[in-house]
Amino acid sequence: MRSTRFCVLGLMVVFLFGLVAVAEGPVTITFWHAMSSRHQPNLQKLVDDFMAEYPNVTVELSYQGGYGDLQQKINAAVVAGNPPTIAQVYENWVTPIVDILYPVGLHMTEEEKGDIIDGLVRSNTYNGVLTTVPFNKSIMVLYYRKDLVPIPPTDWQEYLDMSKELTVDSDGDGTIDQFGTGFRPAANPELFLNFLEETGGSILSEDWSKVTINNSKGLQAMEYAASLAPYSLITSEYMSNAFQANQVCMFIDTSAGYYYNNQAAEAAGCEMGVARVPMGPVNQKSMIQGTNLAVFDKNQTQAQKDAGVLLARFLLRAENTVYWAEKGGYQPVTKSAYESEEWENWVATHEYQQAMSAQMLDGFSQILHPNYGDMRYVIATAFEEVMLAEATPLEGLASAALEIEDLLE
């Protein structure tokens, strides 16, 4: 009897040691990303640091092209049953494939989860589980020319007044040469969504059962956008082109565009400032954009999944998210990062970061509805029609609401 017990105990010890050996054995994971050449050395450095800390894990970084290419390749890989271990994903990409993801949150400590900015926890939580974790995040800010806008507008009224004042036909030929502000409504409907949030409005009700975009709050947001239209350059091009050509004085854009907008300002021979988005009737919230990290469950060994989670957790560490933000122009994604001395020093010495950093902690993200891609398109269409005076705010929102209603089915 005693010998049997020893045998069982012995076997268990061998089994456990075996497991540890598997976990610590060499493991290779693939990381699909869409980070262009400017960001790749920074990402490589972070991954190198990770591999130095976990020498048994090899991370193969694999650039997949732009975000559109990355989405298509992820979908193709999922269909083929061969997704990568870890990949960058937008919120609405995740919704249709959430069942084959390995929820990162289930393998994180409560302390780690609580450290992620609240708004980002919400946008990474599917069916009540923190499934993905935030990675490269940017936020809407107001860019302005310091020579023309000595003090940036702080609220909607000031933004409208200044836009009006700065819109001029300098040569008197009947064509406006300088616009107060500018919009890319078809490409960037997030500007309207930002206004909508600032009125306390939303696309859908909390439980996604009703369309609310056309209620009084939605109308207030769209009417405000329409009031800016006469003083706005409406274009499909990146606003940095117009900025460089001295055609716009200020515009709202993502913080990820800082590098390009600043280059444009320098080329135009002026200094660029960055401020918070102007305060709306209810709040001054700003939209957070950018991707998260997903670990795939399908076609991965347990060791690969564990290594993927380890990498995601590693990238969330304060020092790493701060490094990524400092080098790449993104924003840190954890509370401890914002409290760190390193980040405080960085913000103190980089004026433009103050507005970006200040907005992150109460920023908001896109909704996780599976048809968000279609809804975004519908909103972009209505927003463009209103900004080009093809529809009144009421008409634009009414037609958008009807189309979004169909998407709820």
Partner: protein, 313 residues
């Protein structure tokens, strides 16, 4: 009588004489072996995707599950106002682009067929527009069309035409694409037509001259009829290509279908449904099948009409 009929029927049923020859089978086998690699490649990259698109058009596709939904994708696109608008714009584009390009190509080919100075340079210049990558060409045109600094508005200004917002005004967006496409394809079509012109036997022209035909009469009664095989070829490929216009629009309007979607053609609609953030591959496939049907019908129609009018020497 009956016996003879049975024998005749039997002879008809029996295999052809050449089938009994070994060399026939050897030659046939060799021929099939030669086409096998091309057939295999075409099967994987053309035939399979082609039939797969038909199948996909009857499915609701998601990365994890694809469910058969019959004609619902077709129902959706036929009820979608953007589909009909895209279809109308495609016909508008084809209807204007194809005949104008062909007419200008004919004129250019006739000019290039004359004994002019710097003829080789002129031919190369016309062809350059076609061989330059479409993205590069389109980006140059983006600057030409710039409403404040573009050359086009600058030249139009000489004639008192006020600034035209080519790429920012819904009225001019599709015409801007058409102008650029005409410029791009005139040279290519002209070179094909030029080859046809140079292949026409001189004796027809001599005979016409002896009969006292004027230059225009020779062009109408001799050149055009004898050039119909090339005109037909150019017409067909130009029509098919025009129905599939996409890249020019995508680049010209920075990844958008122009202001208020005024340049959204059918292929752009397909791309938007399938790939630009919405991933409705079933709907995209259904629209692709419709586009295929349209091109197929037009090509058949052209074959019917033009076969009667194409003259081969």
């Amino acid at each position: 009588m009956i016996k003879e009929q049975i024998l005749r029927f039997g002879r008809r049923l029996s295999c052809p004489q050449e089938w009994k020859s070994r060399s026939y089978w050897r030659e046939t086998g060799t021929a099939y072996l030669y086409i096998l690699p091309a057939f295999a490649i075409l099967s994987v990259f053309v035939f399979y995707p082609f039939f797969s698109a038909f199948r996909l058009s009857t499915y609701k596709w998601t990365p994890l599950t694809s469910t058969f939904n019959g004609w619902r994708n077709y129902q959706y696109i036929f009820q979608d106002k953007y589909f009909w608008r895209a279809l109308w714009r495609t016909f508008y584009y084809v209807g204007i682009n194809v005949p104008i390009t062909l007419f200008l190509a004919l004129l250019v080919a006739s000019l290039l067929n004359k004994k002019l100075r710097f003829l080789a340079f002129a031919r190369t210049s016309y062809f350059l527009a076609y061989i330059t990558p479409v993205v590069a060409v389109t980006m140059v045109w983006q600057w030409l069309y710039n409403w404040q600094y573009g050359l086009l508005n600058y030249f139009l200004g000489w004639f008192g035409v006020s600034l035209t917002n080519w790429l920012g005004d819904k009225r001019f967006a599709l015409p801007a694409v058409i102008i650029m496409s005409i410029w791009r394809f005139v040279g290519y079509e002209a070179i094909i037509l030029l080859a046809g012109l140079q292949g026409i036997d001189k004796m027809y022209y001599e005979a016409a001259r002896i009969d006292g035909a004027s230059g225009l009469q020779v062009w109408r009664k001799v050149t055009i009829p004898l050039l119909t095989p090339q005109i037909f070829f150019v017409f067909v490929i130009s029509l098919i290509g025009s129905f599939k216009v996409f890249t020019e629009i995508f680049v010209l309007f920075n990844g958008s279908p122009g202001p208020l979607k005024s340049a959204e053609t059918l292929v752009y609609y397909i791309m938007r449904q399938g790939f630009f953030g919405t991933q409705h591959l079933g709907r995209a496939a259904a629209a692709s099948v419709v586009l295929f049907g349209i091109i197929f019908v037009f090509t058949l129609f052209q074959l019917q009409i033009t076969q009667k009018r194409v003259h081969y020497q």
